[in-house]
Amino acid sequence: MLSLEKITNTIYIWLNSTFNSTLALLFEFVIVGTLVIGLFAVLGLVLVFMERKVSAYMQIRLGPNRVGFKGTAQTLADTVKLVMKEGLTPDGADKFLFNLAPFVVMIAAMLIMAPIAFAKGFQMWDINIGVLYVSAVSSISVIGILMAGWASNNKYSLLGAMRSGAQIVSYELSAGLSIISIIILTGSLQISDIIASQQNGWWIFKGHIPAIIAFVIFIVAATAETNRAPFDLAEAESELTAGFHTEYSGMKFALFFLAEYVNIFIVCAIGATLFLGGWMPFHIGNWTSFNHIMDFIPSSLWFFGKIFALIFLIMWFRWTFPRLRVDQLLNLEWKYLLPIGMFNLLLMTLVAIMGWHF
């Protein structure tokens, strides 16, 4: 069976035996950093292409099909175009903040990569407060968005940024509550523990109805947190032309764009880790032979398969639903999702205390 654990272990042992411990750590940092940036670039290309193909499929179009094999190089060509474009800074903009904002958003997205377990034994930093770290760092990106909206000296940008601020801060609560309801079952914030606890079944199946409710709330909150339709008020092109990134062009715009897609990937990864068992294969009770066959599929494939299924769901939302209004958006969170989430948390606590879960 293909396992990434052996490869990472070999590299670790070789580095430590060749260099002294400080130098070895430094090399590990370099390798991990390169991998994250590489993953970032690849994810951007793949997800943009996927979005265009999915939307084309839903809108009875063909989508990109000229550049490269069946249009696969289209996003690469677009990236080249964006790099070549002039990165314009408008007159009257706060130049420092204007140029800083895309990096804040992107670095926030990169940081969340750290505790995610991509495959068995393939995790950068198995911190013991993993889930807390993720929800803390993910809220940094809103600072970047507010910065971009304020520094652009554009009223559309400002409106978009204010909307985005209100939206992300609100929906973080619901996302947090639904995460906590799984933490109650696992009793640990560490990602590796959470995954290990789902060895004989994923939490969405084991946790009864409360887990399913938590999953639905999480998906809604995740869609809102990443500013995707039907919650894409921050960029609402029919109202605010392009929202907070109206004034950005060239590579600075591309960084926002990239960060948006990577954020989708990350929230889906968190969802997959918490509810769908991370890299754990799909097992059914006592069906030993079935479970054995499932084990043969590499763990990284399991993880990415789950993530892309969730990403497809979120893309499906985008191309189906109209956009909510800003007051309806906040009503949905404060009047419906948050109370339901709190009640669900109580219910989950009851389930955990009584031991009703499997």
Binding site: I60, R61, F321, R323, V326
Partner: protein, 378 residues
């Protein structure tokens, strides 16, 4: 009567210190053309909307004065380009009224068929654009698929896809294409199939309904006093369908209902347009097998000269009442011509509807007014 005018000094009372004024347009994705709206905002809430017009004013009325009665029809196709057949129809009716020509029955039926097909095409495009204003992209593409079928039918007969110039004084320009009936029947079948799917996707959607209901309320009295016509006024409960009130051609012989909703909000206006498409389909179904044989054009003189006098006719376009007013001095060209375009009056109600609403709803309200800017500017 003499009235002392009051000179306003200092700042206008509407714009307070903390207000934000943003320009929506002339280049903006949701104004459907070059319309500029100066919107005064308090946070997300609208305090005032001021439409600025004239970006594509081409002085069509003045141009018409230097063109003969046969020629000026071609210019009117460019006014409300989504219902060019109906524009031509209104002008042709006015000229025929002046000349007192009786047009052959075949031409009458063809005209009505073309009008209703145009109405469906226009409403289809509106439906897609409306959903896009609310942030749903997919309906736009679905709507264009069906609209394309109508445009193809038009292309067969008229040779054009947008500016038809097919209805002329005395009848219609040319004989129907031999595939016309077959293709229209195929379209009716397709439409009935797809319309259900559309209602499922958009009309029944809970987000969509929440965005539309109790938004952009225009009461019956306001609709009348702003001079709104067409689906905009019928959504407020005003009975104003010219096809029913002042039937022209054969509209008094076909069976159809005037759709009136009393919701007065965006959703009522939406429902009126959606249901009107079904009514148009039913009119087409009644006529498509009963096109009388005969001439498609009455015998007219080579040079048309309207007698001295004033002539006014009105037709129901996809957006409302189009009035054509011709003053003739007995020459080969009109002395003065004036169009009463539906979009202009409907747009004037926007400020009233939008006040107190959210900026996101402004776009939705504009969508339900179904604005075509060349129709407003002319």
């Amino acid at each position: 009567m003499y009235r002392e005018t009051e000179i306003i000094t200092g700042q206008s009372s509407m714009n307070d210190e903390g207000d934000m004024i943003i320009n929506i347009g002339p280049q903006h994705p949701s104004t459907h053309g070059v319309l500029q709206l100066v919107v005064t905002l308090n946070g997300e809430t609208i305090k005032k909307v001021e439409p600025h017009l004239g970006f594509i004013h081409r002085s069509i009325e003045k141009m018409c004065e230097s063109l003969s009665y046969r020629q000026f029809i071609y210019v009117t196709s460019r006014m409300d380009y989504l219902s060019s057949h109906i524009n031509n129809h209104g002008c042709a009716l006015c000229v025929e009224k002046g000349l007192q020509i009786e047009i052959p029955p075949r031409a009458k039926v063809i005209r009505v068929l073309m009008d209703e097909l145009t109405r469906i095409a226009s409403h289809e495009l509106w439906w897609g654009a409306m959903a896009m204003d609310l942030g749903a992209f997919t309906p736009f593409f679905l709507a264009f698929r069906e609209r394309e079928t109508i445009t193809d039918i038009m292309e067969d007969t008229c040779g054009a896809r947008l500016t038809m110039n097919y209805i002329v004084p005395g009848g219609v320009m040319a004989e129907l294409h031999h595939d016309f009936q077959k293709r229209v029947k195929a379209f009716i079948k397709l439409f009935r199939e797809k319309a259900e799917q559309y209602n499922e996707l958009v009309t029944g959607n809970i987000i969509f309904q929440n965005r539309m209901k109790n938004v952009g309320v225009l009461s019956k009295e306001d609709a009348v006093s702003y001079g709104c016509t067409g689906p905009t006024a019928r959504g407020s409960g005003v009975q104003c369908d010219i096809r029913k009130l002042y039937p022209y051609e054969i509209y008094d012989q076909v069976k159809f209902d005037e759709i009136i909703e009393t919701g007065c909000d965006s959703f009522a206006r939406y429902l009126v347009r959606v249901k009107e498409m079904y009514q148009s389909i039913s009119i087409i179904e009644q006529l498509i097998d009963n096109i009388p044989e005969g001439e498609f054009q009455a015998k007219t003189k080579a040079v048309l000269k309207l007698p001295k006098g004033e002539f006014y006719t009105r037709v129901e376009t996809a957006r409302g009442e189009l009035g054509v007013y011709i003053i003739s001095e007995g020459a080969t060209t009109p002395y003065r011509i004036k169009f009463r375009s539906p979009g202009f009056s409907n747009l004037s109600a926007l400020d009233h509807m939008a006040r107190g609403g959210k900026i996101g709803d402004l776009v939705a309200m504009m969508g339900t007014l179904d604005l075509v800017i060349p129709d407003i500017d002319r």
